[in-house]
Symmetry: C3
Subunit: 184 residues, 3 copies
Amino acid sequence: MKARVFLVTGGARSGKSTFAQGLAESLSRERTYIATCPVLDEELAARVAIHRRAREGRSWRTLEEERDLAGALGLAPEGVVLVDCLTLWVNNLMYDADSRGLSLTEGHMAALAGGVVQAARARRGDTVLVTNEVGMGIVPDNYASRLFRDLAGRCNQIVAAAADAVVFMVSGIPLWIKGDQAVG
Amino acid sequence: MKARVFLVTGGARSGKSTFAQGLAESLSRERTYIATCPVLDEELAARVAIHRRAREGRSWRTLEEERDLAGALGLAPEGVVLVDCLTLWVNNLMYDADSRGLSLTEGHMAALAGGVVQAARARRGDTVLVTNEVGMGIVPDNYASRLFRDLAGRCNQIVAAAADAVVFMVSGIPLWIKGDQAVG
Amino acid sequence: MKARVFLVTGGARSGKSTFAQGLAESLSRERTYIATCPVLDEELAARVAIHRRAREGRSWRTLEEERDLAGALGLAPEGVVLVDCLTLWVNNLMYDADSRGLSLTEGHMAALAGGVVQAARARRGDTVLVTNEVGMGIVPDNYASRLFRDLAGRCNQIVAAAADAVVFMVSGIPLWIKGDQAVG
């Protein structure tokens, strides 16, 4: 069976991480978690700790990679990999570019997202990618937020188009909007 | 037939209240409306008046309860109860805690939401709960908004998991994402 | 075959415009694009240019109409018309009213949206309308944004109720939430 790519998307606190973890655990007993989140403050540390506790005693190993996600996927061992989440990765890339006086374009974002999918495809084992829907509110009043929203949306489109299955979480209910758990 | 619990969710002005009212009216001729909204200003008063007019002449009695929703459900008469809405209830609880120098945690929120579902289950008659999707926009730039978004999302997950049926409204179109009108 | 009305909705960068263009191109070889967007700054000009390039060499003619959308639909030639997008049209109407010291009400908005659907129905050819979901984030902290959100949501409800088919885009994946491409 070829390696499959699953995308789990939804709003904040829609149950994405919990669902994605359960999906990944159903796919393999060899489990690697790639965290894209730099722990910058207490609030984030608390969120990270909640997710970490949910994996404890369930045979997960954890890698941290804020920017080179394709590289991290290439280095990950066999079995299932869970990446949580793409939206923070986009955020990290955008602020990294900004700190160098550069601006991340949608075209560049699309290429980077394509690279992540290719790296997942090249793995020996399934990959579950978690992302966020961030574009269904009022238009943000500042340029950086609009750019982030556009980059995150572009990333989601690229990954969803290439994924074998896409799940949209609403109030904790999973909607399989492309493929299903039996894809492949 | 056992008492059923329906959850109607969606964004602002997605047609949730109108749909929920129609659903409730199809379930029973004995109709109680529980409003969770404290009328704080003219803008809210206008919104409340619109919903109130839509119920006039249709045999609805109205109760107001800003915080003890489980208690109000226990006191409600037989027939259908429509609660509009859980998101304002979460907002009320959060600001009540804040006014006492306390902070509402997600764990506490989950317990309170569970209590509401249990109270609905214990009723003699169906209950229709209205809530909001608030987590699909850009991450809010202040802590209180992020906390509110997380608490509202957690509440929605707890209630949706326990509900017999869940409807997601998009542009006024109802999507039954769990169960259907014939559940039970 | 009678003229059909399609509504394509979704968040920012969810793939609405690309999907709507492909849908429209599948419906007719006579193609008119109605842009509702006033080009106010460089950022918008760049967005407009991206969409314009996507139509180049594919037999599209372009009309611009910021406010009288029903009138523009009446003047459009036979074949398919693609309107992108209703949300900017609502925005234009709201700011036009504001500049005259008036306020656009939901009732007025509903009537104007109804007029657009009627004009589309009266055409000789199909019409594809693009709109945005803007109500699934945190409640905006200013009155104008809340009013805009309510007006845009009301417009979407009116048009979706009257449309033959409605597509909800999530991460570039089309969900036909009412009817399908074969309607009519």
